[in-house]
């Protein structure tokens, strides 16, 4: 398209451009209902997906509302950290209880062995094991 030979003066070009834009605007204002609705739906979806600021803006009013907002931000943070702390504490508690149970079971076995008439060394004697087997069969 050879147009350079018919270039308009800048002021006239601007005037022409704005006149065209005005015509276009009148056309775009009268879009079909379906298109307008789809654009509206797209806008609503976009607003739902809107990027929220990391911190809510602090509005400073009378009576130190800035301090209040800061305190709320801390409470919000604390609220999100508390469940994690509770989970960690629970895991530690379960581990401690299990270790204690195992220790007390072993202590009971040791106590039973030590308080028995039979000396603990007898259990390591092969002759005693044989004796236990034979006496078990005899009964």
């Amino acid at each position: 398209m050879t147009t350079t030979d018919t270039l308009l003066a800048p002021a006239k070009a601007d005037q022409f451009g704005r006149a065209v834009a005005m015509r276009l605007s009148s056309g775009s204002a009268e879009l079909p209902y379906e298109v307008r609705e789809r654009l509206r739906a797209a806008r609503v979806r976009a607003l739902e997906a809107r990027k929220k600021p990391a911190f809510a803006p602090v509005v400073v009013g009378r009576g130190g509302s800035a301090a209040l907002a800061l305190e709320r931000a801390w409470l919000h943070r604390l609220g999100s950290v508390l469940p994690l702390l509770a989970l960690a504490a629970g895991l530690v508690l379960i581990h401690t209880i299990q270790t204690d149970d195992r220790a007390s079971e072993l202590a009971e076995v040791d106590t039973a062995l030590l308080t028995d008439d039979l000396p603990p060394a007898a259990y390591a004697d092969p002759g005693f094991v044989q004796f236990l087997k034979q006496s078990g069969r005899g009964e």
């Binding site: 298109v35 976009a46 607003l47």
Partner: protein, 188 residues
């Protein structure tokens, strides 16, 4: 930082023009709607916390990029499925038919006389046809500069080119449109 209300107002103010501009580029209403929706989503998702003054420029940039992406995707798809598309009918519903667009428009023009409304719609149709005939960069520069009312520097920034290029594109677009409309006997 733009509030939700400010962002909503901004999107509402640009959505119709964005849609029409995209239709001029891609010549398909469905695709234009998808592109505008994508652009709105990207603006809201990534720049929803920016000041309201920065939104117009960001949106124009995003819209241009989304339109470019659409052309790239279409090119790839055409390359992949060229054999299948050979069998498709050329006169399918994907074609942009301005007569359909103005069907509803003409019904709503109750105040104007039927003759005036028809004439107005006809002029608009001719203008739109000529705009669609412009080379892509000229069309983009012209529409941003005059329809979006952006200055030369803003248009250059949104198009990613120099201010001199914007002036050249606009000047050529105006000359081409003026010549074409004059040839059709249309005075603005």
């Amino acid at each position: 930082m733009a509030t939700e209300r400010e962002l909503s107002d901004f999107l509402q103010s640009v959505e119709k023009r964005a849609f029409k501009r995209t239709v001029y580029h891609v010549r398909d209403e469905e695709s234009a709607l998808d592109i505008v929706q994508d652009s709105m989503m990207k603006l809201a998702e990534h720049y929803g916390d920016k000041p309201p003054a920065e939104l117009p420029m960001l949106f124009q940039r995003i819209l241009s990029n989304c339109t470019l992406d659409w052309f790239r995707r279409r090119k790839t798809r055409n390359a992949l499925f060229s054999n299948l598309s050979d069998f498709e009918s050329a006169s399918d519903e994907g074609e942009f038919d301005l007569l359909e667009t103005y069907e509803a428009t003409e019904q709503s023009q109750q105040v104007e006389s039927a003759e005036d409304a028809t004439r107005r719609a006809q002029i608009l149709r001719e203008i739109e046809t000529e705009i669609m005939e412009l080379p892509a960069r000229q069309r983009e520069a012209f529409l941003m500069r005059y329809w979006e009312d952006m200055d030369v520097a803003e248009t250059a920034a949104a198009m990613g080119c120099s201010e001199g290029s914007v002036k050249t594109h606009c000047s050529r677009a105006v000359a081409a449109l003026s010549k074409a409309l004059k040839a059709k006997g249309i005075q603005l």
